[in-house]
């Protein structure tokens, strides 16, 4: 059984035909519009695509993915380094996660499934970073429980 902390899965029903969704995912300009990144080149299987993040507050970051598969209107996948938010760290030598976009025809449009997997191989230190950034850490939660029980 896969560990419950290894993957994230999202499903969303998009009210557009598969061909339209495929274009929004794989056309670099369109992808850049909603993902908030300015890509230097187009996506192609086996290719590394880089760009500049345009997400407000993260413009100093570089976006980089290694495209794996592009099965038209079915599957688009790439590997990347999740949450690579510290420009001083070279993430390239760390294990990458795999991101898969799967498209299925649905009654009212397209069912898009996004799976990101491989988190269990991410160094514990990276997770600690995310932990520190989260003010609602374990200590705070335990204080809340304690107040609740003893209050």
């Amino acid at each position: 059984m896969k560990s419950t902390t290894d993957r994230i899965e999202k499903k969303i029903l998009l009210r557009a035909p598969k061909s339209r969704v495929w274009r929004a995912l794989t056309n670099s300009d369109e992808f850049g519009t909603w993902f908030r990144v300015k890509l230097a080149s187009g996506f192609a299987a086996g290719k590394t695509v880089t760009g500049k993040v345009t997400y407000p507050g993260y413009e100093h970051l570089t976006f980089s993915v290694d495209v794996e598969r592009m099965d038209a209107e079915r599957l688009f996948s790439f590997r990347w380094h999740p949450y690579a938010v510290d420009p001083k760290i070279d993430y390239s030598r760390e294990p990458a996660t795999l991101v898969e976009f799967r498209l299925e025809e649905a009654a009212e449009g397209t069912m898009l499934t996004v799976v990101e997997s491989g988190f269990d191989r991410i160094p514990a230190g990276r997770r600690d970073e995310a932990f520190r950034m989260n003010s609602q850490g374990w200590a705070v939660q335990m204080e809340n429980v304690q107040r609740h029980v003893t209050g």
């Binding site: 998009l14 514990a124 374990w138 029980v149």
Partner: protein, 110 residues
């Protein structure tokens, strides 16, 4: 929250959904690792019941037992589980936002 996430978290909530277990967890987290005999001395239930409750907490990944001599010392085991969870929650939210923008992008253009 998605069904899968709720399902994953269910054993944790089930483990916490009991007054005695909650007290045991709070005690372990505030006063540090402790043995069953000392834990049951300060709990108004039998030693056998305390052992059972500790095992439920352990199965949910909330505490860990280490043998020390003839005794078993229990301690809170939050780090791995909670760190991993918070990390995934953060990335999960980023995906929610991105997919929301994708949806709006498609609505604008079709």
């Amino acid at each position: 929250m998605e069904v899968a996430q709720v399902r994953d978290a269910a054993p944790v909530f089930a483990a916490l959904g009991d007054e005695t277990r909650l007290r045991l967890l709070v005690r372990l987290s505030s006063s540090g690792p402790d043995s069953i005999s000392r834990l049951s001395a300060k709990t108004p239930v039998s030693r056998q019941a305390v052992t059972k409750h500790l095992e439920v907490l352990s199965r949910a990944g909330l505490i860990r037992g280490n043998r020390r001599g003839r005794e078993r010392i229990w301690q809170v085991e939050p780090k791995r589980l909670v760190d991993a969870r918070l990390y995934l929650d953060r990335i999960s939210r980023l995906w929610d936002d991105a997919l929301d923008r994708l949806q709006r992008h498609l609505e604008r253009q079709t």
